[in-house]
């Protein structure tokens, strides 16, 4: 099958999946659909039906880079300063501790597991371990969206989960971008070799320039066509430039998203354009990730995978609980809100794909850990969120029901007492006086 036709079919499948399977499963079964496309990718790939050849996967590299950039900007766009300053500081404190703890614990555990399992010096295991640590921090916002809709979440526990997911995205993308800058070995043709800090600055600079260009482009106009052209061009340019320099497209696009969110008058219109492409691109990414997956039955892989899964789950569940207990916030958000962060999704796959497409050590192991995590947690992400928030929301819901009942009862009594109120023509106090 020709590569372009295959891409069309993959995109069509992703498109149908977005609007049929995703909504249906989400509404009826509280399941976040997506991970099954990873399995479908494996079935289409060189290890099963061979419908997608390794050459075809390589031909899709620009789409993969674009999708990584798209996930990056989608993670950065919600970080709108005007909205963030209204959130209590304790929510950030809890999220930051949970995120950093996950990064540190997973990176340390995986580094020692890789060094032990593959008999390599610890130094050699650092880059993959830190990259996996960064990937481990990411948690999918899809669970919260499916469980409680994507509107404003006023309940403290939902807000805490939302803030933590945003913080996870920030830490994950930033840490991954720094690791990629650290692992950068290519020497520029015309200037001296750059330091890690300089490469990080270059990555951030690409994002800032991308956001600025978008602004200059848009000016005062808000026509959807102009918006689409300039946003599309800016994302492609930003992701492409970062990929060309072997830096992280996700970080560059993330910075661009933050710049846009905080400088635009109406970021909602940009978010709308972003959402149009986000899920189909995620499914394409999942299918390609599945097709390019090279799992191994070697027992040592399982050791690394076990470390990843166990340490990540522990730090998400216990780390968040301990941080909450220390800050005395258990009254408002409970000790179990970390369950809402167990699900992994779009960002995890994007970062894992970004790692795998480079010539970096243990790429297959890293990719396997991330893919397995998405495979086993994304389906239930909404249920995890529900289980974290439901006990705290139950009294609130009960209160709402009781309040509604009282209001209804009062209204009914008033209507019976003063029938003319029903038509909205309330009598004056003089009229009511006998």
């Amino acid at each position: 099958m020709s590569a372009p036709l295959l891409l069309i079919l993959i995109a069509a499948l992703a498109f149908l999946a977005t609007h049929v399977a995703y909504e249906w499963l989400a509404k009826r079964l509280l399941i976040v659909s997506g991970a099954e496309y990873l399995v479908l990718g494996v079935l289409l790939g060189p290890h099963a039906t061979k419908l997608v050849s390794p050459a075809a996967i390589e031909a899709f590299d620009p789409i993969v880079i674009l999708a990584i950039g798209w996930m990056g900007i989608a993670t950065g766009m919600p970080l709108q300063l005007q909205r963030l300053v209204r959130i209590p500081a304790v929510a950030y404190r809890l999220s930051l501790v949970e995120g950093l703890l996950t990064l540190a614990l997973v990176a340390t555990g995986v580094a020692s597991a890789i060094a032990y399992a593959f008999q390599v010096p610890l130094q050699e295991a650092l880059v993959p371990a830190l990259a996996l640590g960064a990937i481990a921090v990411a948690s999918t916002p899809a669970g919260l969206d499916v469980a409680y809709g994507d509107g404003t979440r006023s309940a403290p526990v939902l807000r805490q989960i939302e803030v933590a997911q945003g913080m996870d995205g920030l830490i994950s993308v930033l840490a991954f971008g720094i690791v990629m800058a650290w692992a950068h070995t290519a020497i520029p043709l015309t200037v001296r070799a750059l330091t890690t800090t300089e490469w990080v600055v270059v990555t951030l600079g690409i994002g800032v320039v991308g956001g600025t260009l978008f602004h200059l482009f848009l000016g005062g106009e808000t026509s959807p066509d102009r918006l689409f052209i300039s946003l599309g061009g800016a994302i492609v340019l930003t992701s492409g430039a970062a990929a060309f320099l072997q830096l992280s497209p996700a970080l560059a696009a993330f910075v661009m998203g933050v710049v846009l969110a905080n400088s635009m008058r109406h970021p909602a219109s940009v978010l709308q354009v972003l959402r149009t492409g986000e899920r189909p691109l995620y499914y394409v990414l999942l299918l390609l990730a599945g097709a390019s997956w090279n799992p191994d039955s070697n027992i040592v892989w399982w050791l690394v995978l076990m470390h990843y899964v166990v340490l990540r789950t522990l730090s998400k569940l216990w780390g968040s609980g301990i941080a909450t207990w220390f800050n005395g916030a258990q009254q408002s958000v409970g000790l179990d809100w970390g369950r809402g962060l167990v699900g992994q999704g779009r960002l995890t796959i994007a970062l894992a794909m970004d790692y795998a497409r480079r010539d970096l050590p243990f790429a297959d192991v890293i990719f396997t850990c991330a893919a397995a995590s998405v495979l086993f947690t994304e389906f239930f992400a909404a249920r995890f969120v529900r289980s974290a928030a439901a006990p705290l929301l139950a009294p609130l819901e009960q209160f709402t029901v009781t309040t509604s009942a009282v209001v209804d009862s009062v209204a009914e009594t008033m209507t019976q007492r003063f029938p003319e109120w029903r038509s909205g023509d309330a009598p004056s106090s003089d009229e009511r006086t006998p």
């Binding site: 674009l66 750059l194 690409i206 492609v236 492409g240």
Partner: protein, 427 residues
């Protein structure tokens, strides 16, 4: 001023990124794709302040950043971005088909056919005559026997009669013009586009009979031509019906659906060896006329999807131009371009009077028919393939002519729309 600042920022960014690139970085196709969208769009906006159509700006950007200029967009990048051009052609064809409503064909069909046929005859004969008369200027024809002169003159004329649906659709989208002049011009361009497939195939067969190719290959069989056209109608109709059903019963996410349909149509046409343009044209026509009034929303979605693709398509067309090749051939290129314009003017005027059309249509339609682009490039490549030795020289001549028509054509069409009062937006 803002556009100039954007271009300067883009220039600085590209310089900086290329400065930091390493030996292992490879070809930055994706980055240059994004760069072309932004840079060409800016130049396009800048062009409107000089009263030029945006697509001329896009092409100028391609010329400036392409191999003849700064060479950011190198030849390998142009090759790698070829799928974007194919997608653009597919979108253009679908949009063109969707513009044709049955009621309009009934009302304007006869007038369009009369103008097209008169213009076709005059243009074909005029251009062939010029080539035959000026053969002394062409090294590969100067001492050739009469049959060869006749064969190559006819081949050249068969490519010269082609118009540019891409430029016409892009300009109409840009200006939102929808009056009689715009509709007649579009009609002639589209009908000619279908007719030219038949004409070119017939002329190529005649040329092969007069001057057999050295290796005896590369010809076009009648059966192949029939399948290319008949198959395209069939495949296009099926695709159009599918789109119509989708629009009637689902009608969601039209933006992504539009891109998928254009890609799918182009790919199916390629696999089944049918005419891509005609396939998408028929698909657009069927979808528009069978969707029970849902077509307009889909057309708008497709126009949105096409906007950035058009920008890159025309920028790539500009990058493919080679101004240096025009100069040595100017003694023959200029007369050919002038005679072609004269023939188009004469033909459309004659045809419009024959059909008793509005004086505005009679006077200005020819302005919109000067452009040439993608189809002409493709036909020139076929000639070069069939006659590798002399065909290449003929191709250079064709490309030089197309370069001028491609640049001047959109400007003339815009002038015509303005003078006729159909230019609603200055872009």
């Amino acid at each position: 001023m803002r556009r100039i600042v954007i271009l300067l920022v883009l220039y600085a960014v590209m310089q900086g990124i290329f400065l930091l690139g390493s030996a292992e970085s490879g070809v930055p196709t994706l980055m240059l794709f994004g760069f072309l969208i932004l840079a060409a769009y800016s130049v396009g906006e800048l062009a409107t302040s000089f009263g030029l159509p945006k697509i001329v700006g896009y092409m100028l950007a391609g010329l400036f950043f392409g191999p003849p200029g700064l060479a950011y967009v190198s030849k390998p990048v142009i090759v790698e971005l070829a799928p974007v051009s194919n997608l653009a052609i597919a979108l253009i064809a679908f949009l063109a088909g969707a513009e044709l409503q049955i009621a309009e064909i009934r009302a304007r069909g006869i007038g369009i056919l009369k103008m097209m046929s008169a213009e076709l005859v005059l243009c074909f004969v005029g251009v062939a005559a010029v080539i035959a008369l000026l053969r002394g200027q062409l090294p590969f024809l100067a001492s050739a026997p009469g049959t060869e002169v006749l064969a190559f003159s006819l081949l050249f004329a068969a490519v010269a009669v082609v118009h540019s649906p891409a430029a016409t659709i892009a300009l109409l989208s840009e200006t939102k013009a929808n009056g009689p002049l715009a509709r007649y011009t579009l009609g002639v361009v589209l009908v000619m586009d279908v007719a030219v497939v038949l004409i070119f195939s017939a002329v190529l067969a005649a040329a092969r009979a007069l001057v057999p190719p050295t290796d005896g290959s590369g010809g076009v069989q009648m059966g192949t031509v029939l399948w290319e056209i008949g198959g395209a109608v069939l495949v296009g109709a099926v695709l159009g019906l599918f789109v119509a059903l989708y629009l009637r019963f689902i009608s969601r996410e039209l933006f992504i659906f539009a891109i998928l349909i254009a890609l799918l149509g182009a790919e199916i046409a390629k696999i089944l060896h049918v005419e891509t343009l005609l396939t998408l044209l028929v698909a657009g026509f069927v979808a528009e006329n069978a969707s029970g009034g849902h077509g307009e929303k889909f057309r708008h979605a497709m126009e949105r999807a096409a906007a950035p693709i058009f920008v890159v398509f025309f920028a790539l067309s500009g990058a493919k131009l080679d101004p240096a090749s025009v100069l040595p051939l100017w003694t023959i290129v200029v007369p050919v371009v002038l005679v072609r314009m004269l023939a188009i003017w004469g033909g459309t005027t004659l045809g419009a009077r024959w059909a008793g059309l509005d004086p505005v249509v009679t006077k200005y339609t020819w302005y919109g028919l000067v452009s040439q682009a993608g189809v002409a490039f493709g036909l020139a490549a076929v000639v070069a393939e069939v006659y590798p030795d002399r065909g290449e020289a003929l191709r250079s001549l064709l490309l030089a002519t197309i370069a001028i028509n491609q640049t001047v054509g959109p400007i003339l069409f815009r002038v015509a729309l303005k003078r006729s009062g159909e230019l609603k937006s200055t872009g």
